[in-house]
């Protein structure tokens, strides 16, 4: 794929990331990090192809291990973030 095109994506995504994350309040920084864990499990997408393609045994082993590790991040990350965010409550006006 065209290198320049990829670098364009890098530039724009980095800028967007900074703008988005800056708005996350301090009180949510731990869920932000565990949520980031889940999102960084996106490596799963690349690992799926390595694990399931017709390639050498070594590639299959490496790919499958990567699938397992990334799945931990995706499933574990989203679930624990949900669990945490469910605890954040506003003061009830009773």
């Amino acid at each position: 794929m065209e290198i320049i095109y990829l670098l364009f994506i890098v530039l724009l995504a980095a800028f967007l990331g900074f703008e988005l994350i800056r708005k996350v309040p301090a009180t949510l920084h731990t869920p932000l990090m565990s949520g980031s864990n889940a999102i960084s499990g996106i490596t799963l997408v690349g690992a799926l192809v390595a694990s399931g393609s017709d390639s050498s045994l070594l590639t299959t082993i490496l790919g499958t291990t990567a699938v397992a590790l990334a799945s931990i991040n995706v499933i574990g990350g989203y679930l624990v973030t949900d669990r945490m965010l469910g605890m954040f409550k506003k003061k009830e006006n009773s």
Binding site: L6, I9, V10, A14, L16, G17, F18, L20, I21, V24, P25, A26, T27, L28, H29, T30, P31, L32, M33, S34, S36, N37, A38, I39, S40, G41, I42, T43, V45, G46, A47, L48, S51, G52, D54, L58, T59, L62, G63, T64, T65, A66, V67, A68, A70, S71, I72, N73, I75, G76, G77, Y78, L79, V80, M84, L85, M87, K90, K91, E92
Partner: protein
């Protein structure tokens, strides 16, 4: 061809969902929905990838997803909120390792012919993936060991540490060059992986427990950047975009943590707390100890109370007891606020999650800058297991190692209760002049026991 367009279109959709999910994370009331939106984005990306024609067998994928998914789900359900720093650290490591393995698989799936013909860009990005992934993995494992108490949380400092780091960097450049110019030789591949792992190990082992918030945030960022590098290597745009979102998130948090300690990132990474501690002035005065019974009389009369929690609250698992005291105080017509320093605890936002777990509403949690201007209005400040973040030496003593660090100015309140195990110095080895102030009373003992005896006094 049509399938490829479909896959890439779905990637655009899921990138949009990730971005929208992060946007919803900007407020606690919408954050949970944001997490769900982000998870849907992930689901779309994964499902559509399975349509890829390169994938001919699903057995191994299924095994990998099942094993990883079950472990992840179990971990997410069983982890205690006080253990979140360990868990995030471990997951950073898994993310780094997954990228490392993906980079390696990219090379191992290439035939000799392809290794010769592929462009340098591919090998440079694989090189970055291997290095960053390796550093993230070994660094996170060490951080996890330190946070979970499996390793000593003290900074391991020895002479030659700096030289060792420089040696690693030189080796990275050298072996990296050899790898890119001669990718068919597996020796360079293994050497690069080994150097990355070794560098992460030494870089993290020399950092002390109190600096862990910075390290976790930085490793969080690396795990995203490793995914981006892997995305560049395999030419997958969704990996690039998403990895960068995580990378940016980690970098911003790292920056916030460093600012909150008034130290540069380089200073945190290179020196630990190895700088000799020069005591500028000798602290004079005596510590005044108060019994929980007497503390109760003061609290009973108080109109406004501020709680300043620190890592000690997490260690003592005192958050539920704090909440109980909070309810009693409010029932007594007293307002209760919380002041949370950015580096309180062992990871960004650690205290907020613990207090949320104990049902403390998030709109009663304030940042340092919100409470400092109105500190005089508080009748009692209760410091629970915090030390350096309320240390006035940061303002008053030029020779102090933490001089210049922004702190919660608890000493300006009418009365300060410090709940502490003993009157020793804090983690940084810095004496705390707060303990000697006229308006400070120390309540010695386990924080949870102390609060429980206060609660009992209210009951009588």
């Amino acid at each position: 061809m049509n399938l490829e367009i479909l896959i890439n279109f779905a990637y655009v959709v899921s990138a949009g969902l990730f971005i929208f999910g992060l946007k919803l994370l900007s407020h606690p009331s919408t954050a949970r929905r944001g997490n769900l939106v982000s998870a849907v984005g992930m689901f779309v990306a994964v499902v559509v990838t399975l349509l890829d024609q390169q994938i001919i067998s699903y057995h191994f994928i299924l095994i990998g997803v099942l094993v990883g998914g079950l472990y992840g789900a179990w971990k997410a359900k069983s982890v205690q909120m006080t253990q979140m720093p360990e868990m995030v650290s471990l997951f950073n490591g898994f993310g780094g390792a997954a990228s490392l393995l993906l980079g390696w698989a990219t090379i191992s799936s290439m035939s000799q012919q392809m290794l010769v013909n592929a462009s340098n860009f591919v090998f440079i990005t694989v090189l970055l993936t291997l290095l960053i992934g390796g550093v993230t993995f070994s660094g996170s494992v060490i951080a996890w060991g330190k946070l979970s108490g499996k390793l000593s949380s003290k900074a391991l400092i020895f002479t030659g540490l700096r030289e060792l780091s420089i040696l690693h960097l030189v080796a990275m450049a050298l072996v990296g060059y050899l790898f890119v110019t001669d990718p068919a030789n597996n020796l360079w591949l293994y050497a690069i992986i080994a150097i990355g792992l070794s560098f992460g190990l030494w870089a993290t082992i020399s950092i002390g427990g109190a600096d862990m918030p910075v390290v976790i945030a930085l490793l969080n960022s690396y795990s995203g950047i490793a995914a981006t590098a892997a995305g560049l290597a395999v030419g997958n745009t969704i990996l690039i975009v998403t990895g960068l979102l995580v990378g940016a998130s980690g970098l911003i948090l790292t920056n916030i943590m460093c600012k909150a300690m008034n130290r540069s990132l380089m200073n945190v990474l290179l020196s630990g707390f190895s700088t000799p501690i020069e005591q500028g002035e000798v602290i004079t005065g005596e510590i005044k100890v108060l019994s929980p019974q007497d503390a109760f009389y003061v609290l009973e009369a108080a109109q406004a109370v501020l709680v300043v929690p620190g890592y000690g609250m997490a260690v003592a698992q005192a958050q539920h007891a704090v909440r109980e005291l909070h309810t009693l105080l409010e029932g007594n017509g007293c307002t209760v606020d919380y002041a949370i320093h950015a580096v309180a605890g062992r990871m960004p936002g650690h205290m907020n999650v613990l207090l949320a777990e104990a049902d403390v509403p998030y709109d009663q949690l304030y940042e340092m800058d919100d409470v400092n201007p109105r500190m005089e209005n508080y009748d009692v400040v209760i410091v629970i297991g915090a030390n350096d973040v309320v240390n006035p030496a940061a303002k008053e003593m030029k020779g102090s190692p933490i001089y210049g660090m922004p702190v919660i100015e608890a000493y300006r309140a009418k009365t300060v209760f410090v709940l502490k195990r003993s009157a020793n110095a804090g983690f940084a080895g810095v004496d705390n002049p707060l303990f000697f102030k006229d308006n400070t009373r120390m309540i010695l003992g386990d924080a949870k026991d102390t609060i429980n005896s206060l609660i009992r006094e209210f009951g009588d």
